[in-house]
Amino acid sequence: MNAGPADTRSPHLDLEDLIAEVTGQGIDARAREHLARCEHCRAEANRWDLVADGVRGLTAATPEAAPPDRPRHAGLRAWAGPRRRTMLAASAAAALVLFGGAAYLSTAALTGHQPGAVLTAVSGCTALEQASGTLEQVNGSSMVIKTASGQPLTVTTTASTTVGVSGMLAGGLPDGTPVSVAGPRLNGTIAAVVVTIRAPFGVQMPPAFVIVRGTVSDASAAGFTVVTPGGTRVPVITSSGTVVNEFQVSLDQLPAGAAIAAVGHAGPDGTLQATIAMALLPRPSSGPQLHVQFNGTARGCSPASLAAGVLAAAFVPGG
């Protein structure tokens, strides 16, 4: 930040602070305080946020490279096999646009789940495994879930694992929360059906929905206002049917006992190295079914089979 006692430069946040804010690297208290009260800097942060979302949208939509039929280099031959598997797993991550639709998973959609199995293959994609259960404990970057068969399963994560929480909106959202709100337009407002925080992938919404993105302001029990990057204020109404999907959370922030659905590849000693791990908290019993759309395909692993696999992994106790 530029504003210091002897600083004659601009009183506003410098670019490094703005970028740190937008990329979630954190800024110091003085910079944060300035950001909270400076309209100019908030507008700048919103502009950078829009640029960042644009870049992320491009890179997140990048499917994995298809594995070569034969290694082009002798040096690749040694690990061509494992690489194929990991690429397929990563493709599943790229494909998880259905995360926004996770709130609408119904038990009827989960017929692929196989009671008794700890890890089950994703149908049509032998490289991927899936598991579901309830969260028992978190140990650093891994967690132990209790599967339907009663067996414990260790799910490991890395920095690239997408971890999220989906559940009902239980209260207000903090001012400044970056959100994407989707729902039908209603008398100049949006009746929020889905509120997504830090979505790593795009979600295809029903045609009747409008989507607005920005930051939360003026939150109350009845809703909040979304302030778009351009400064437009859009009133949003929330209800007991509003679902919140929050991504980029850490494992230790998942509530114990939560239903966990995870997809990834089999690790050593029967573990699951998760590409995706989602905590599914109690949710509205009904809602529109979102269309599942994949950004990429992997050889021998069709989008439909991946969708079925992930859906099968995502069970919802109690609906």
Partner: protein, 200 residues
Amino acid sequence: MDDPHGNAGARTFTARRDGGGDDVGLLRRIGQGDESAMAAFYHEHGRVVLGQVLLVAGERALAEEIVQDTMLAVWRGAGSFRGQSSVRSWVIAIARRQTRDRLRARRLRVVDDAFLADQPTPGPGPEVTALDRAELAEVTSAIRELAPAHREVLGLVFGCGLSLPEVAGVLEVPVGTVKSRLTAGRTALARVLDEKGQNR
């Protein structure tokens, strides 16, 4: 303020990668010829590297070849990693060199770094209006039309999640130049958006 999930602090989670302690261990194992470590490394970094290379090269087939060459370089050179940068920025730097070599070999002209670096850092001007009015889909589309060097710096910061000093290390320029290039990239983006808006 209430927390919808009862897990206060979730929204303060940083999207930024950590220091990559596991990554260093992976590189050590790769250096010892551990194939599973190489697979894990690809799982960890492959998609980000491909995204960045594709952002710069703009051509899928070429980007895939560059990523293969990059991973081959990692396989061969993992033992040379000295921990003077994060593993993510190290592999991105390798990918960048591979990209430049390929683009030079194909005689594709890229925006001259020095030219970009010398551009003054413009403050907020009329072009911010275009950015303020833009929707995300328009921004995403407009980024594709930027010069490679602009796409590159934006991708390194927002796609790869590197800090500005890390980006400076990858680009081999001072941090100040990274800032100038970022701002120039955003200005160029706003101009593209403005042009698109006027043509609508």
